[in-house]
Amino acid sequence: MCSLTEPAIRTAGLAKRFGGFDALHPLDLEVGREEVVGYLGPNGAGKTVTVRLLLGLLRPTAGRAEIFGIDAHRNTVEAHRRLAYVPGEASLWPSLTGAETLHLLGRVQGQVDEAYQRELVERFALDPSKKVRAYSKGNRQKLCLIAALSSRADLLLLDEPTSGLDPLMEQEFRRAIVEAKDAGQSVFLSSHILSEVEALCDRVAILRAGRLVEVGTLAELRHLSALTVQATLRDPPPDVTGMAGVTDVEVDGRRLRCHITGPVGPLLDALAPAGVLQLTSREPSLEELFLAHYGGGE
């Protein structure tokens, strides 16, 4: 039923409407095998709705979702054999201990790498004899992460998985994701933490108000965006406003700062006569890309 070339995730026109509110407009998205894709968007953009649709916990209003070519809604159980999921807010049974929770989730999952699980418990510094009731939010989060990672499932669906983790554990999480990728697993990482996405993801999809506004590799996204150029000149800077691709020009004495999209040559030609003492140019960070998409409001 699922050939070896089917992507880990494929959605076609996947949409969800609650009452009169479009939580997700028709979404077409693919996550390839062995690929790590970051899913970005502000609060309420529809990230969690997307993940819950992929899991079959919500029924789509239109369209379909496939996990390795298996329909996520008609054949949910089969689809779930191939994936593991970590929620952003871990809601577990308070009377179970950590070890009991891992045991239960492992049995229901049907596949566990026990050795790897023990290693992860060690690495995430979790005391599994404690009851879930007594765990902090971060520790409950670790429990869900360990359960999902130790399943070694082909696809990891992670919905803001590091909320509540301290920086050391965040590092440990990143290492585990790199291991997963090296082992050939696919990862779909919905996140707010841009540095995390930047460090881990091959591709990024950006969602706003239930619509996909951008998909691509970080390099592609950067290419579409402006470079920041900053120059210190010997003479007063020439007027570059109005040049093709140049925006946001700021002049401060002998210093000039601007954004440019497209070829940089004409700008350099214009600056050269004023005597360039120092020149820096920088690609935008993911944070700047993100803010460029959302900062302007609608």
């Binding site: 819950r52 899991l55 079959g56 916990l57 919500l58 029924r59 949910t76 159980v77 089969e78 779930h80 054999r81 994936l83 593991a84 999921y85 929620p87 807010e89 809601s91 577990l92 049974w93 308070p94 009377s95 179970l96 201990t97 070890a99 009991e100 045991h103 239960l104 989730l105 049995r107 229901v108 999952q109 049907g110 004899s129 404690k130 009851k131 009731r133 007594a134 869900c144 669906l157």
Partner: protein
């Protein structure tokens, strides 16, 4: 400031619940008073009523001793005081534990405690809010009572005293729930402890009123104090002293213990660690059993205890009752054929039927809560189908109900046999099994509500049981129209062992339940999972 917010939140919820139950109380009081006039209009009818009920120790054990029941006010006081305090007490203990321990359990209280208040202050404020709910309950009840002073033939002062008597048990059990909330670590534990207190109080009252010369025992039970108030029939306000003493004493104790413990922990020791008990974690179905077990054990204890007490007193009650003239009539009306003990057991098992139906509603609520709290997500994102999960939960609940129903028959037989009551094991087991079908139907209809309207399922399910219980209660005394009675789940159940079980009705219940269950499985598969 924050204290006022806490008090306001608690008050809003308590007033809503208190006023709603007050309205039920008012309705029952008014309909009883009005219904009495039409049902027992003639002198002969009233004399017959005194003969039947006055001599029926079984009914007296369950609902309290009759007094002046040939008058409107005497009958109304007996009938209402026999049932409403029990309903009110159960509401009160659940409400108190939910308000105090439930908010803490869920972490919501933490948000408020971060404001300018202390934990002790917030505790006092929440209890003040509950007191407001009690006042609302009293006000609405009193309005209902005062509306029928003319029909009832009593004055305003007597009416107000009656309303006080009706809310006395809720007041005491709000205090009981407040204290157990401080002792236990979780809401469920707190509710179970308070429920245990209620069960013991009711059992003592039941023994005291069973006509076995243990009448003094009534003073050992808070519910006995309520009965001793004797509203409308020669008031004895002295009984208000222990009632007020218990309410204020337990409330004060709750405040003191609350101030002395840490947030998020009970005053009683509870362990935060535990060994790996994997036996019931091997599959989703076994895990259902683990989640269902505490609730099932609690109900088994409560219903088993009640059945044991009923069995213990059946013989003496039956003997006392057979001597009365009217008793034969009752048995005949029930279609019965044998002695007093069996008739008494038959009536008692209709109460077991109601309790078992409440247990069924509790299982439905627990299943829904697992979804609402998001715990279910952890299972359904793994290779486990929704139908399989739901079937597991329903099957476990069914097994629990069946076990408790058999236990009820068994427990009553053990104690009845110890007194040489002469009712066989087979008849008492079938009495136990006989109350299973309505509970199973509640389970199935509740599951259907869960599958179709998840956010309303809990209210609908408890509403169905409460409705059936009230219809049975009101309908049995005001010659209610048949279609109204037909809408009660308990009306079609024969009072076994006084008469033979109606297997056709039982079969119909089971078929309906199976149909509702099948539809639930399909419907649950087709909807979104929804949180609280």
């Amino acid at each position: 400031m924050t204290g006022r917010v806490v008090a306001g939140l608690a008050a809003r919820r308590a007033i809503r619940g208190g006023a709603a139950w007050g309205a039920v109380f008012a309705l029952v009081v008014a309909s009883t008073a009005v219904g009495f006039e039409s049902a027992y209009g003639t002198v002969e009818a009233r004399q017959q009523l005194v003969r039947t009920l006055g001599g029926n120790a079984g009914i007296q054990a369950l609902f309290g001793v009759t007094r002046d029941i040939s008058t409107v006010k005497g009958f109304t006081a007996w009938r209402c005081l026999g049932v409403l305090p029990l309903v009110g007490a159960i509401w009160a203990l659940l409400h108190a534990t939910r308000t105090l321990q439930g908010e803490e359990d869920s972490g919501r209280l933490e948000l408020l405690l971060a404001g300018p208040t202390t934990r002790a202050g917030a505790g006092v404020a929440a209890m003040a809010g509950m007191a407001a709910g009690l006042v609302a309950m009293f006000a609405v009840t009193a309005a209902g009572v005062l509306a029928v002073t003319g029909t009832g033939g009593f004055g305003v002062t007597a009416g107000l005293y009656f309303a006080v008597a009706l809310v006395a048990a809720p007041a005491m059990f709000l205090a009981v729930g407040s204290l157990t909330s401080q002792l236990a670590t979780t809401r469920r534990q707190a509710a179970a402890m308070a429920g245990g207190v209620f069960g013991v109080a009711y059992a003592i009252r039941l023994v005291a009123d069973s006509g076995s010369g243990l009448r003094w025992l009534r003073w050992a039970s808070p519910l006995g104090w309520v009965e001793s108030l004797r509203p409308l029939t020669g008031s004895r306000p002295l009984a208000l002293v222990p009632i007020a003493g218990l309410t204020l004493g337990l409330s004060a104790a709750a405040i003191v213990v609350n101030g002395a413990r840490d947030y998020g922990t009970g005053a009683l020791p509870a362990s935060d660690t535990g060994p790996l008990r994997a036996g019931l974690l091997e599959s989703a179905w076994r895990f259902s059993a683990r989640l269902t077990r505490p609730r099932a054990v609690g109900w088994a204890a409560a219903i088993g205890l009640m059945a044991a007490v009923v069995g213990l007193v059946a013989k003496s009650v039956g003997e006392a009752a057979t001597e009365s003239e009217g008793f034969a009539e009752i048995i005949q009306r029930l279609g019965g054929r044998s002695g007093g003990a069996e008739a008494y057991l038959g009536l008692s098992f209709t109460i077991v039927a109601a309790l078992l139906a409440f247990q069924a509603a509790g299982h439905v609520a627990a299943t829904r809560e697992e979804e609402a709290d998001g715990q279910l997500d952890n299972l359904l994102v793994r290779p486990l189908s929704r139908s399989r999960w739901l079937l597991g939960r329903v099957a476990t609940a069914f097994a629990a109900l069946a076990a408790v129903s058999v236990l009820a028959g068994l427990a009553s037989w053990v104690t009845a046999a110890s007194q040489d009551t002469g009712v066989g094991l087979g008849r008492l087991l079938s009495a136990g099994m006989n109350v299973l079908p309505p509970a199973v139907l509640v389970l199935a209809l509740g599951t259907l509500a869960h599958a179709v309207a998840p956010r309303r399922a809990v209210a609908l399910t408890y509403g169905l049981v409460a409705w059936s219980f009230l219809v049975e209660l009101v309908g049995s005394l005001v010659n209610a129209s048949h279609w109204l009675l037909d809408l009660s789940l308990f009306h079609h159940i024969a009072p076994v062992p006084a008469v033979d079980p109606r297997w056709d009705t039982a079969a119909l219940y089971v078929v309906l339940a199976a149909a509702a269950g099948a539809i639930s499985l399909v419907a649950f598969n087709r909807r979104d999972l929804v949180g609280a």
